[in-house]
Symmetry: C2
Subunit: 373 residues, 2 copies
């Protein structure tokens, strides 16, 4: 904990909230830092990159080269259709849209319904309604379906094909080493299916081998390691380019808990949640305020502890200057918590209302893409 | 060893060659004896049933009831496309044809190419040629393709669907208990795929739940136990009738070795093997002959030890009377080994030549069925 970030970012208020020991990730696990050298080579970095939320990667050089040589590459991610879009889904979805918009990357978006069955016992038919809803969200966020391929795992035989080929090329010892000893056997298969999802952009039907970037949370690194290992082993047969990943720091829970979790409703909100409920979660969120207003005016607040600041940094404020301003005004005691909360509630409400209007118009498109009658 | 069979069969010369301890199979593993009571209820038992080669079953009552009520049922089996049809493949293939011909059962025949990849590293494309050849063999044996469904695992998404559903409904502990700790992870997936194959006849696309019989060697019992366990667990969702199986004793190696094995070419022959090679294997086969002709004429032979007798019993002689006659003539010393071998070589040659003529005509049909250009 409290390891310094390896590069300067526009703003770096998360010294106390690193979810992992970066030095260990870099040294022991072989994740590479997403550093200045990389940032220099990206014409227009995403806000997650600018703000140090993207802290590491595996194999991102293949993407940099594709960007520089203006060669095609793909961006791939997905969602487990087990509930509405929440702040976590928003992060990877926005990164997909970013790579598609900025560099013309073909987007591959997977509805992980085999995983939601294996993990949450949600039958495929039941997952379909959620899938349509989730897909409408990412379309509203700006995903262009004309330069995208969107699939449900349960409907995509090519992904299943990969899963069986991969299963035959992995030892049980490797599966145990990567995933630990799972009681539910289906989770191993979900992992193989996810490796298939990640390699789908390189399937001959989609033009064959090409660089692929998968924006993920650090918790997804086991899949990334496995799929890269498999791509390496099967390279002579399939010609795979090793898939790359960018790793994103995840937001803590709004209430200051270690992470957002469905088991703790005060820690997060869904994009389609009742506005009063969202408001009350934001108003109750952890801040970096002092014991009294007098004290805060004197000492200033501690913005690096504040979830209101994080909501802006991660999701709801596009302009870096506004982020820096709020951060400084908190630190110098001129921006008080109550006032800032009210301001951010307004920003969130406006963002969400606009999103919902767009989303409503995308439901039909989502149904069509998923062949739902 | 040397346990008495539980029922009288037309002929029972295999006292010394039982491959397993029947009492243990029946008592500890829950395999049920294929006994007189069952035989009484089968209008026209197959030669494998009449000759005690079918020694046990799981859940065969469902098939008896379907036969008696003239209700539809299915017979399912398959082949791993890793080489030409051999004496082992012949056995289950013949049982499929029997159930189809005698009772109008719809036949489901699977080309297990996911298994031949996982187990033998044979790429699907390479397996296709073998699959066409294997399929032509079973068509030549009398399989009616109009009342059959034939598929390659790698091409059958419905089977893959089942495999993923099943994987999510089984614990890792169960997989280990049934299959032992496999180094090659793909073998677990092959097992789940095989459970999918066995349940395919009950898929809604094939008219939904119905009794299914799978004629197998005892070595396939793990799959049978797993698929029955899964069918039981998923009954409320899919309405599965528990698949049933008949268990067949397997022939020993021609040279008297414990079993036929590709690693020991003298232990078996393929149906498309060079006739001279087949002849030399038959002429070299283990018999129940005595040290000298004089001794044999005096004491008689030991037909229960003789692989020439087994070749007739298992495969190449349809009439029970001829089997009994050869058995008695050996025992009373009038049929000597050299003479019997020559006679059986002639029988086998005539059988095989006829089979090859039929098979040649079926190659095109086999290609069509498997969509091979």
């Amino acid at each position: 904990m409290n390891k310094p970030n390896t590069r300067k970012t526009v703003i770096d208020p998360w010294g106390s909230t690193y979810v992992a020991d970066y030095a260990k990730l870099f040294e022991e696990f072989g994740i590479e830092p997403f550093d200045e050298e990389i940032m220099k080579r990206i014409p227009n970095p995403s806000k997650y990159m600018r703000r140090g939320i993207v802290f590491g990667h595996r194999g991102f050089q293949t993407i940099l080269e594709a960007i520089e040589k203006k060669e095609p590459f793909a961006v791939m991610s997905g969602i487990k259709p087990s509930g509405p879009f929440h702040l976590g889904s928003l992060l990877t979805a926005s990164e997909i849209v970013y790579f598609q918009k900025e560099f013309g990357a073909k987007a591959f978006y997977c509805i992980a319904d085999i995983e939601s069955y294996a993990d949450n016992r949600i039958p495929y038919e039941e997952a379909t309604g959620t899938a349509v809803d989730n897909l409408a969200d990412i379309l509203a966020l700006g995903l262009d379906p004309k330069n995208a391929y969107i699939w449900r795992q349960s409907q995509e035989k090519r992904v299943m094909d990969y899963a069986f080929i991969f299963g035959a090329n992995v030892t049980t010892a490797t599966m145990n080493a990567v995933y630990g000893e799972q009681t539910n056997f289906g989770l191993y298969n979900s992992a193989l299916i996810q490796c298939g999802d990640i390699d789908l952009p390189q399937h001959p039907d989609f033009g064959g081998p090409k660089p692929v970037v998968v924006p993920v949370g650090l918790d997804q690194d086991p899949h990334i390691r496995l799929v890269r290992d498999l791509a390496r082993r099967l390279q002579s047969t399939y010609g795979f380019v090793l898939p790359s990943a960018t790793f994103h720091r995840l937001m803590r829970g709004l209430d200051g808990s270690e992470k957002m979790s469905k088991r703790n409703p005060m820690s997060y909100f869904d994009l389609d949640e009742d506005l009063d409920s969202i408001k009350s979660k934001v108003m109750d969120a952890l801040t970096g305020g002092r014991a009294t207003i007098a004290e805060q005016k004197k000492l200033g607040g501690e913005p690096e502890k504040c979830m209101i600041q994080e909501l802006c940094i991660f999701h709801f404020v596009e302009e870096d200057e506004k982020i820096i301003e709020a951060h400084q005004n908190c630190k110098n005691g001129t921006l008080l918590c109550g006032e800032h909360k009210q301001e951010v509630v307004d920003i969130i409400f406006s963002w969400i209302k606009k999103h919902r209007r767009k989303k409503e118009k995308e439901i039909d498109t989502a149904r069509k893409i998923l062949n739902v009658g």
